[in-house]
Amino acid sequence: MSTLKLDLENYKELLQQYIKTQDEQALYQAEQFSKHSMQQNISPEEIINVHIESLQEIYPEMPVYIQSSLDFLLETMISYGLAYQEYQALREKQLELKSEISVAANMQRTLLATEKPEIEGLEIGAISIPAKQMNGDYYHFVEDDNGFLGVAIADVVGKGVPAALCMSMIKYSMDSFPENKMDPGVILGSLNRVVERNVDSSMFITMFYGLYDVNTHTFRFSSAGHEPGYYFDSKQNTFEEIDASGLVLGVSPEATYEQCTKHVDEGDMVIMLTDGVTECRQGERFIEEEEVLEIIKQYAHLPAQETVEQVYKHFERLQDFHLRDDFTLIILKREV
């Protein structure tokens, strides 16, 4: 099977071969022919035209009505040809936009980058995958010298570029906070005021903030309307929801944030996530909370980072490789 050229001769030959043999090989070559034509930006109406000309050459006595009917068919293909050309233009534009946004996404990644700390006695797993190129989810680790680990996980209502712009502001604000350990409730309180002042009122941000004390293995946390977290009891092999009451960031400057405490036993895990994890969809069906926990349990025996990665992989496939929302999952696992 030699390389095909798009020209009348070639089409005519293939057509003639098919009319004679009606075998699959000729049809396979028809397919290859059309793919090559597409590579050369040949519009569908031109294929029809080559078809007509080939028939005229092979069958000069072809009935007149056939000729007319093909002229009519050609006319219907002109609009499709235009759509085809627009398709090619859109494709180029899309690639351009994609590369542009990927530059912006890179800027964002640099801006929002957080280092996963190495902490004696604590395994940390964290994954955050944007549904589109830019991430509207955000997580951040702060570590101090006294064995405290601060973890923020947040979700802007909205996706893509606007959400990312908004997230950058949050990051600017958090960076300006004093480095020394603060209570989760206090941190959310100050952030709330910043967001309320600076961000458009149509944008909301939910955040869960936790402070892990590596000395006493207590986890203090507050939530600004964020998806609840989970505590995994490795002995009972059960999950327990951990949540604290508090308004979404940016709604009211007066909001206060409840602070709760949970002791973490050996081998147990604290799980924080965004609604992109719990609201995965399979086709039209939202998966149930229990399914998410079931899957986490299934991979709980792995190192924390592998756990979050395997869970992501599972839901990525379940959703046909198209995330509907940014997906962020953090696991803190106290080593045995």
Partner: protein, 133 residues
Amino acid sequence: MDFQSCVNIKKEWDIVGARQLGRDIARKIGFGTVDQARIATAISELARNIYLYAGAGKVCFEAIEDMNYKGIRIMAVDDGPGIKELNQVMEDGFSTSGGLGAGLPGVRRLMDEFDIQSDEGKGTDIKVVKWLR
């Protein structure tokens, strides 16, 4: 001097008349079947825009001859409301006729040269050319 023939566009039927005249001229100039069909589609689009948005106007045709090339020039003129957001109208995927028409980007693709002038309240003036290859 080239001879110029026009078709007034007032009712949908006139679109067919404009196509017919344009196709005849294109055939005489020597355009093949595919190009005739493309030219007719461009005429449809131009005439339809007049019919739908300007109410009345005309589409004119001219056989042209450069030093080496022959071609057809089509002019669509109306004194309707004009086009406000020209750059949007010229963008792919935003055709005014709601997906039904190829829009002006389609006309530009079907032809070789495209020029448009439109002022709000003063109507629209579109000139397109297709060269015989």
